[in-house]
Homo-oligomer: 339 residues x 4
């Protein structure tokens, strides 16, 4: 951290800052300029401490963080790419992994049909929500336990690993026993109670980006999972909230190379929730692969016009099959492949 | 809802929309223009249903919501202002209620001193966090159970009601027994698991606005509390995330009159978390009262320079006492009072 | 500026940075830590130079600006509040100045009626647009030259100084001869061609904040006016673009104390364009005064329902008169007055 | 437009709305529900009129726009893709056009060297700014007229068409005579004076998106150019302002398919200004092509570490050459090519 003193700060004020630095066990180096004194705080864990501890002191002008607040998710701690393996499917390597399926599990028939079409088209993991965090309490909240049973059934029948959302820290075992990957939704990215419980469970997890969280906050949230020893963390960009109103959320395409530089964790993209409209999904999906994403999470519904949740952003089976062909070409053009 | 068909939509496409409307038990009125057909969907609960159910149908151009998605929080359901009473202190009436105290409970000494100074200056409720949802797992997370005990102690000694944050649905009874008001933090505004648990408990609750949630989403989240029969809901504006970087969050001052028009719920303002710097707190606090807020939630620390959390945005006892005097004058200028 | 080198940066890389610093005539102070080298760049005009000049060098990790990019608008250059005097009306002192009138000049009758009602209610400056920068080329663009003539007429009759918008650098003399204050609209805040022309003219100017510009960028834009020797600069906060959709723009109430700390320039508030709806204007206007604004710019129309532009956000004469009474009380509560 | 009356609106209030509709020559269709009356306004040019004209009337609850505010830029007016031809280079067809070069023209040597390297690597148009709209008046503002002369020289020598920024409506002929394409910068997207002057000149123009303007506002600004009969309009996405701080601007990748659906105009992408850092440019550039962009505008500097402007986001010649090879593969994967 860099503590810049106000013009005219007294010796006493400067000494107080220095004492505070020492009280944390850190070192200090002083820059006494003609106008301003600037104090560099040197220590390996300054990133985890609030700048406030200095900013609040008398005579201090600004405090600037040099170290990042996240630690375990950073490339500085682990230089090599992390691979997350799900039933032999490796996420984070050359292979691009497509997870697809309906937003919500609605019925056995719907889920089975969805599994069949996404498997045929080349998806390797099935998505489907049993617990749906809905904006209004009067909306359909998912089939809950019955939905989990259907996920177990479909897994057995089609041999597809399953990813499903978890919304309650008390449900980690129950949901984790039915699914291969737990999904933390955008609205729960900073639900630290939930993250800690999933961290302890060591189960693979897709951590969706909070729709108004910076990449730095996202990686710091990942630290909650990693700090409990869970190494199966997959990040998922799904669009951020901006002023633009032609889409539900603005997909932050630059977050992919930013994460690849800053973190060792694999990152996938959900084009469906960002777009909010099926007709925009293919362009965004192709862009994600071209930008370096390790996978996709796409909503596919056998009959979008009958979907209980998010039908407008779901691809039909035919559209999904066509997209998968196009994605294969884009993946190859950047030196990767879809199995 | 208004369903606008594309130019050239077929009779079949229009009929499908009409059938879907009827399947929900709603009525339809048709506007057959020279270029476009527009279908008005008439029903009292169309606000709680996604526009997707029509937007996904063939031939549909746009679907526009006329009804708001929230219901129980709206003035249409309850025209009169709701009053929330805490130990005889009424929130939502002429009296402006100031809740003040440290961000985090740090020690018995700190809490007792804080209680004394805020009570002396005229605050009527004490704030103090025992559970702190921190961005990084390596930051101080609060004294937890020990913090709750201290809150119980200080309440007894000073006779001040207490508001404290809750972060885990499993803790409703434990935290609720120590505090008079539960506080749901910004990052948990859409933690529906937590909201439902608090709703069932019927305990008074301060629902902070998610820093990237619209007023509409905020009132819809309040519906989760109200739907369980909890009538003690107090909204709290605490700033939204914008591009402006001179403050931590941009206080949305217009949200106060917007809520007063749309909802019967009382609304208070937290100037401390919005500002992020104590020197900005007085201006924002006065603006909030002038704009019609029913109360304030202000961070005060006996020694901000030693605070473990958010010291920079905490007022000193002297600054808080001065602000309270100024606030009294502003309150009177808009026909209200601080006791 | 603080240049933080990457872990493992070579001596050569560090030397290149130091040379670059010296090439600008600045001094350097080195912090050689165990992990990282941090270089402090010391010079009085580092704020006006891009951080890129160092960030682009090999081995550099991050570059952090300590000095602000604006200069003439800052309190460091001029500690005392600047007062702008318009026909004896001082803006920036204890008196709060209200500028009011229609969004657009529509006809002689409309303008005269507006002038009469705003003067009667206590406004001291008349607003009215002759040139209207409209989003669509097919919308009403203002009466242009004819509008300027009407402004000249109304000034003579009512003795009210006039503020009006300017959109073209070629019109500075023409608009300046008809009006007492030039207004630069939000969309032109970074039209540096226009700012330079107005700067050279030395005419008083209201500089509206760009709806997506930071306070820092706003003050840096003011530097364009000040750099040409124009000292009659009045800032105007009018709302910023955010995700919130219940208002047209979110009024950034905290910008007022932020500017009062950082700059010597007076700042007024336009609640009408922020709100977008007349019913929200009074709350925002009162909040602005309570927060420390030096004046208000309010839209008033004799018959809002017949307005050609922005009728929805215009107050009726009766509502404006009522608001002025309320504003007087709020102004007094913070130690100021409206004449 | 759809005018939704308040519950309990009187017959008189409804009649006033209907009269207003008729006064504009439009038709009306009434939906008299049990709770609310909804009035559909039918007319082909309702998109160009503000919703305020109805919203301001007594008894009106909300007014919803069905038609888009832009007209000439829309696919409804022109279904086929527009092609813009520059010296035989067609923008908007199967060929992807890469414009590259330095941010600012700095010297003859720099410009010549840049032209040579970008031409060799396969760029077909040279970019270079002679007039630079800088945030601070104390920053380098470009070589201005001398810069235009250098552009003329380099064009002759290398036979590369040139695109350069224009910032003043008075300079259309001067800049237009030196360059093949005029560029309107992000800060001038709503400088309607400048747009009108360029529109009248009929010269090809790259219209950069305002960094806080919606796609709808962008297309409506394009209407200013098209309304004057200028058909050579090329849109350029360059990132929008959001809360994310790891990049300068967040590239809105979804804007590409959104524009392709809504408009017939070609759209290119500037990854350099969005990223703000050269290391992020390749990923964003590849994503843009995959998403369907018609071209790219990329900053390349012979020696980025000596650049006077934006060196950090400029590619070196070697990096640019490598990127061009990668882009060719991505272009082919989506059925397009780079010559």
């Amino acid at each position: 951290m860099i503590v810049s003193m106000k013009t005219g700060a007294t010796k006493e004020e400067i000494d107080t800052v220095v004492e505070k630095v020492h009280s944390y066990g850190w070192d200090v180096q002083m820059n006494v300029g003609t106008e301003k004194t600037v104090i560099a705080v040197l220590g390996s864990n300054t990133g985890q401490v609030s700048t406030d501890i200095f900013a609040v002191l008398s005579g201090v002008d600004t405090v600037t963080r040099i170290m990042k607040p996240y630690k375990l998710a950073s490339r500085e701690v682990k230089a090599q790419d992390s691979l997350v393996s799900i039933n032999g499917i490796e996420i984070g390597g050359k292979r691009i992994v497509v997870m697809a399926g309906p937003c919500a599990v609605e019925s056995e028939e719907q889920l089975m049909e969805a599994a069949e079409v996404v498997k045929d088209a080349g998806a390797s993991i099935l998505r489907g929500g049993a617990f749906k965090p809905r904006t209004s309490p009067f909306s359909f909240q998912g089939l809950e336990k019955k939905g989990l049973e259907l996920l177990r059934k479909v897994k057995e029948k089609y041999g597809l690993p399953v990813v499903t959302e978890i919304v309650d820290a008390r449900d980690v075992s129950m949901v984790g026993d039915a699914a291969d990957i737990l999904q933390v939704g955008s609205r729960n990215m900073q639900n630290f109670t939930l993250l800690t419980a999933i961290g302890k469970s060591k189960r693979p997890v897709v951590l969706k980006r909070g729709f108004s969280c910076t990449v730095t906050e996202w990686l710091t949230a990942a630290d909650y999972l990693l700090a409990e020893g869970n190494t199966g963390v997959i990040l998922c960009e799904r669009g951020i909230r901006t002023f633009e109103d032609s889409v539900r959320f603005s997909l932050d395409i630059a977050s992919i190379p930013v994460i690849k530089q800053s973190s060792h964790l694999p990152v996938i993209v959900d084009p469906s929730h960002a777009a909010g409209h099926y007709s925009l999904v293919p362009s965004i999906a192709k862009a994600a692969i071209a930008a370096g994403a390790d996978g996709l999470l796409i909503e596919v519904h056998p009959k979008p016009e009958e979907a209980l949740v998010d039908g407008l952003q779901s691809l039909t089976p035919a559209n999904f099959a066509r997209l998968m062909k196009e994605l294969r070409l884009v993946a190859e053009s950047v030196g990767r492949y879809i199995q």
